[in-house]
């Protein structure tokens, strides 16, 4: 992205070695995430989304900030997001149209209609969607980073886990194994106050997620997850330490899930004032915009320009794929194995 105007000489220095271009890129990813989700909500209401819709409203900052700290590109760092880490996937280079296709189960979607939302991966470009069973990606990412270590590649893995998902046995086994092996893995624990309807106090008996990992012998810190640059800096630091052979690092990001578990959930169990306070006082995009503008790193026109381009991109992406076909029914039989190439079509279908 070309910068429209140079920062004024009065601006405070940009932190963490970022350039003004990068700051605007971060802004673009935040906006893209939110706008894309708003579009998905509209499509959901039109019943064009197949199945459920999972929003990350209010959490975009930690997804974007953390993923932005990775070295991205072919055969570089590797990321495994949860369903709510749409922003991280966009940072990794996933196109909005791929997400739209996934949610609408189109033939041309990354999983050819086989899996939902952001449950897909690209081993070359370094991301790997979760399966629904929470916790399972921690051991898998341990295996991926074990490979980096075995091969001596200077690559790092980043994986997300919720305040709820950390209760699973798979989480424990995976992070412990990675810690013992000193693997180059950064684990982002998302304290977003809810696991479906379950608050943290029913999920664990300590205060912070960073406390929760004290038994693994790894560094753990807590950052304000709605401060995008703080998340970026903390992750950058952890990533470079992991790359330098310092083993697993845990970062707790504090944030708030401002929508229900999925769109069908009316959040009746959430205190209304709490929700409103987070929306009003602690929206990660609002805070980032304020920081950008107050510091003079960008002005309203820069941001408006990005907003407009994002809007156009989402419109065009939607237009491009909305009319696309669903997958051909019997494409469902292929690729269960490398060989044979397809599962048998059952006898009653040919009567």
């Amino acid at each position: 992205m070309a910068s429209r105007s140079a920062p004024t000489t009065q601006s405070p220095p940009i932190p963490a070695g970022l350039s003004r271009d990068q700051l605007l890129q971060v802004y673009r990813y935040l906006r893209l995430t939110r706008t894309l989700e708003e579009r998905l909500t509209a499509l959901y209401r039109q019943t064009k989304v197949v199945g459920g819709l999972f929003r990350s409203l209010g959490q975009e900052g930690e997804s974007v900030g953390s993923a932005f700290a990775l070295e991205r590109g072919q055969h570089r760092d590797f990321l495994s997001p949860l369903t709510r880490n749409l922003g991280a996937m966009l940072v990794m280079g996933v196109e909005p149209v791929q997400i739209l296709r996934q949610y609408m189960a189109k033939a041309g979607s990354p999983t050819q209609g086989r899996e939902m939302n952001i449950h897909f991966g690209d081993l070359e470009r370094g991301y790997l969607g979760q399966i629904s069973h929470l916790g399972d990606m921690i051991p898998v990412m341990a295996g991926i980073t074990l490979t980096f270590k075995m091969r001596g590649e200077p690559r790092v893995g980043l994986v997300y886990i919720g305040d709820g998902g950390m209760s699973t046995g798979a989480f424990h086994e995976g992070i412990n194994f990675a810690a013992v092996q000193r693997l180059p893995l950064v684990v982002i624990g998302e304290y977003n106050h809810w696991a479906y309807s379950t608050p943290p106090a029913r999920q664990f008996a300590v205060t912070r997620l960073a406390d929760r990992v004290k038994g693994y012998g790894i560094p753990a810190i807590t950052v304000d997850g709605n401060d995008v640059l703080a998340v970026y800096e903390a992750t950058k630091d952890a990533v470079e330490r992991a790359r330098g052979g310092k083993g697993v690092h845990f970062i707790e990001v504090t944030t708030y899930r401002r929508k229900g578990h999925a769109e069908h959930d009316d959040q009746h169990y959430v205190p209304k004032e709490e929700l409103e306070r987070w929306a009003r006082e602690n929206d990660p995009i609002d805070r980032y915009v304020k920081r950008l503008v107050d510091s003079g790193w960008a002005d309203d026109a820069d941001l408006k320009d990005i907003d407009e381009r994002v809007g156009v991109e989402i419109d065009e992406s939607t237009d491009a794929c909305e009319g696309e076909p669903l997958p051909a029914p019997d494409s469902s039989l292929t690729a269960v194995y490398a060989r044979p190439g397809a599962a048998p079509r059952l006898w009653f279908r040919d009567l």
Binding site: V50, A105, T111, S132, A170, Y196, T198, R202, W347, L351
Partner: protein, 326 residues
């Protein structure tokens, strides 16, 4: 008499058992204030309190293990899996600990593990599973799978009262689709281990359970109308132990049998049923025992794919026609 859905019938059964017996309690994820992902336990925590309706961490092995410990001590826990797909995380606990406790060490373990299963709802590979085959192979467990509202209620009650561990499978496609008149006041308990003749006929038997029981009945109706075929339909209701007597009765009556299930084919229950029929009623067979099942793939998400992979009414009609003509 009031019209109640399958979901409401299950809810009533649970509620009545909670009222009747204070050893009964519920544990699972989001079962309390949220009332469970499908609202099966809506209102329970208000009536019975947090001590008897326990929101747990996301820890299926702990949920089932804790249920087992409580069951040993005389309680009657009902553990909910938010989707039955997550029962795989408690597979060790169920097959190794729970199922063998009585046999190994004389430990009574009367617990129920229940949860929404099945497809036809665009749930994708991890919110649509049928897990009966995973546990069917485990001596010490019982498995029930109601297809009707009456049995949704009758089997949850029987499961809670049973002195052994029971996996209760409820089909989410049936939750709000099936409505039935159920007697108020009068007790509805479906005995575990007894199949139900859902439709009588002399030309051919269909053996099924769960959602495909309804598709089988629909097919039978169509075959009666279009082909003049009298198809008998057996609803297994209990999958472990199988009601061999009822199965052989219908086979010996019609001499031709089609087994229908939603689950994938290889290693699904139809194999065992076919083997038993072959062993116990070989001489009565006028044609091969045939199976209509899902294709052997993980269940995909897109409607076109899911519809192709799962067995549909039309498949049952065609297979039954083929077999009738054999």
């Amino acid at each position: 008499m009031a019209d109640v859905t399958y979901l409401e019938a299950l809810r009533q059964g649970l509620w009545e058992e909670m009222e009747r017996d204070d050893r009964v309690f519920i544990l699972g994820e989001d079962v309390g204030i949220y009332g469970g992902a499908f609202k099966v336990t809506e209102g329970f925590v208000k009536r019975f309190g947090e001590a008897r309706v326990i929101d747990t961490p996301i820890s299926e092995a702990a949920i089932v293990g804790a249920a087992a410990g409580a069951a040993h001590m005389g309680m009657r826990p009902v553990a909910e899996m938010q989707f039955i797909d997550f029962i795989s995380c408690a597979y060790d606990m169920l097959t190794n600990y729970v199922a063998t406790a009585r046999y190994r060490a004389g430990l009574p373990t009367p617990l129920v593990v229940r949860g929404p299963c099945g497809g036809y709802v665009r749930g994708g590979p991890f919110h649509s599973q049928n897990v009966e085959a995973a546990f069917f192979h485990t001596p010490g467990l019982k498995i029930v799978y109601p297809a009707t509202a009456r049995d949704a209620k009758g089997l949850i009650k029987a499961s809670i009262r049973d002195d052994d561990p029971v996996i209760y499978l409820e089909h989410k496609w049936l939750y709000r689709r099936i409505k039935e008149q159920l007697p108020e006041g009068e007790e509805v308990v479906t005995p575990i281990g007894e199949a139900r003749l859902a439709r009588e006929g002399g030309d051919l038997s269909i053996i099924s359970y769960g959602a495909t029981l309804w598709k089988s009945l629909e097919a039978a109706e169509q075959l009666a109308r279009d082909d003049g075929l009298a198809v008998e339909v057996l609803d297994l209701r209990t999958l472990l132990p199988l009601d061999d007597a009822a199965i052989m009765r219908t086979v010996k009556h019609t001499n031709k049998v089609l087994i229908v299930h939603e689950d994938t084919r290889t290693g699904g229950l139809a194999g065992e049923i076919a083997a038993r029929i072959n062993e116990q009623a070989f001489e009565w067979l006028d044609g091969p025992i045939m199976r209509v099942t899902a294709h052997d793939v993980p269940l995909p998400y897109a409607p076109t794919l899911e519809d192709f992979v799962l067995p549909q009414t039309e498949d049952i009609v065609k297979a039954a026609r083929w077999l009738a003509a054999y």
